[in-house]
Amino acid sequence: MKKLINRPEDVVKEELEGIALAFPDMVKVHFAPDFIYRADAPVRGKVAVISGGGSGHEPMHGGFVGMGMLDAACPGQVFTSPTPDQMLEAAKMVDGGAGVLYIVKNYTGDVMNFEMAADMARAEGLRVLNILIDDDVAVKDSLYTAGRRGVGTTVLAEKICGAAAERGYDLRRVADLCRRVNINGRSMGMALTPCTVPMAGKPTFELGEDEMEVGIGIHGEPGRERMELKTADEITEMLALSIIEDPEYRRTVREFDEEKGEWVDVELVDPPFRPGDRVLAFVNSMGGTPDIELPIIYRKLHEICEKKGLVIVRRLIGRYITSLEMQGCSITLLRMDDEMIDLWDAPVKTPGLRWGV
């Protein structure tokens, strides 16, 4: 293992210390329990948007804390969900009196920890809603799995919901919007190389020189299929078509019902893409893929979208949701409406995403 680290066990702690020193105008860092929060928090009267998850996906989530996006982010150990005490203390720190939205990627660990945190926060009198992101089309059947994983759409949901909160939407409206972004977003990723968790010291899986792993998540886990390495165009086509031709997707998720005061199962349906849909096209590096290769992916994606009648109205290309140093990419398409486009364009000022300011 070759990494620019001191001791494997200090990676997350020292990363947080560095972030606090590097971006003092945007964020502050709280230790034990660990979380990154907006330098000007709590913002009075504004819904607080919080996310979190294992570390190793930088800039997500900590890099998205700041004006117009997240109020706080709770980092776990590398690829391990954070814990309820982090989420609870973060909520108490940034709640501006208008409630807290937890944006949760659909992984068993994240879901259970955020549910415990929400229960604890409500017991302390806070208003909290949890919305899941489950957009990874590599997971086909929700009946026999923990459901689709939360991947690229998470970044887009954090931006759009953060902007909505900044505009003064109330908690219910921000939560509804987040759910709407989720059911309109779909992603698929692939890996050329595995990655190495610092504490493990060894690559998470092995891949031959001429092999690739398709349908990966973001935790260095093996994907659905291993195949012979293909060209960028062929890979892009495979990922894009998996997304564009994905049929309607139904599943039940657990959400908190404020009227009933309990967790309820909610059925959600992701409608398939149709010609004429306006989309945001997001081409993402898994960490190790250099910027020179991403436009090659976008070029083909653009052509495929045109052929399929999808109108690309916004783009995001770069390294935003990663698996450490893994080489590979993911594609996300988000069907947008006027409101989402407007919120996407709204100013944002975070270490990882900045425009309009």
């Binding site: 549910e115 997971v139 026999y144």
Partner: protein, 213 residues
């Protein structure tokens, strides 16, 4: 001879040792069908739990177990944190105020732990999770006690049942947790959570055995 809080503390220290000794093994199992962190997570959690024990060592079994549960919830992370944390907290709730445990108390605590895991994770038997080790263990413990076994023998049966349950996860197709994303590729691998559950039950059986001898 009833189980004392001293036995319980011995048990918890031994659990931490066994988890540390099996850290790489559990992580390797998780690398095959998960994200290579189960051993690391559990080791971090049990080390933290031990650190929090000294101030509650003279307290009742319930307080001791709840302290461990809270420590696990706030330090393990992943799926293991809320699941094992809830298990220990639920077991602690059942043993509130008790300083000596009879065999039925041990059964009630383990049964509550199982219910807690099921409530939190909603896994069914056969989904390839820790539930597949814990369920047969609780059942074996109950049957052994019904048939008049002493606590050491009953826990021995429970550990054996957990071991069998753990091995039975090998041919299973994972339907919960990270491993479920692998689909058919999860078949042929032993579940890491079922393995850690077996290891903890094995410690309980061994401690009970040593006390009797």
């Amino acid at each position: 001879m009833p189980v004392t809080t001293q036995d319980l503390l011995t048990c918890l220290h031994r659990m931490a040792e066994v988890i540390e000794a099996n850290r790489e093994y559990l992580t390797a199992l998780d690398a095959a069908i998960g994200d290579a962190d189960h051993g690391i997570n559990m080791d971090r959690g049990f080390k933290a739990a031990l650190e929090r024990l000294p101030p509650v060592e003279d307290k009742d079994a319930g307080t001791i177990l709840k302290t461990v549960g809270v420590a696990l919830v706030s330090t393990v992370g992943g799926a293991g944190g809320p699941l094992y944390g809830t298990a220990f907290m639920r077991a602690g709730t059942v043993l509130e105020g008790k300083y000596e445990l009879d065999p039925q108390d041990v059964l009630a605590a383990l049964d509550a732990a199982l219910q807690g895991v099921v409530m939190r994770g909603r896994a069914n038997l056969g989904d390839k999770t820790m539930v597949d080790a814990l369920t047969p263990a609780v059942q074996a413990l109950r049957e052994a006690l019904q048939n008049g076994a002493d606590i050491a023998d009953a826990l021995e049966r429970a550990a054996s049942a957990a071991e069998q349950g753990m091995k039975d996860t090998i041919p299973m197709l994972a339907k919960k947790g990270r491993a479920s994303y692998l689909g058919e590729r999860s078949i042929g691998h032993q579940d890491p959570g079922a393995t850690s559950t077996y290891l903890l039950l094995r410690v309980m059986a061994n401690v009970a055995q040593e006390k009797r001898n």
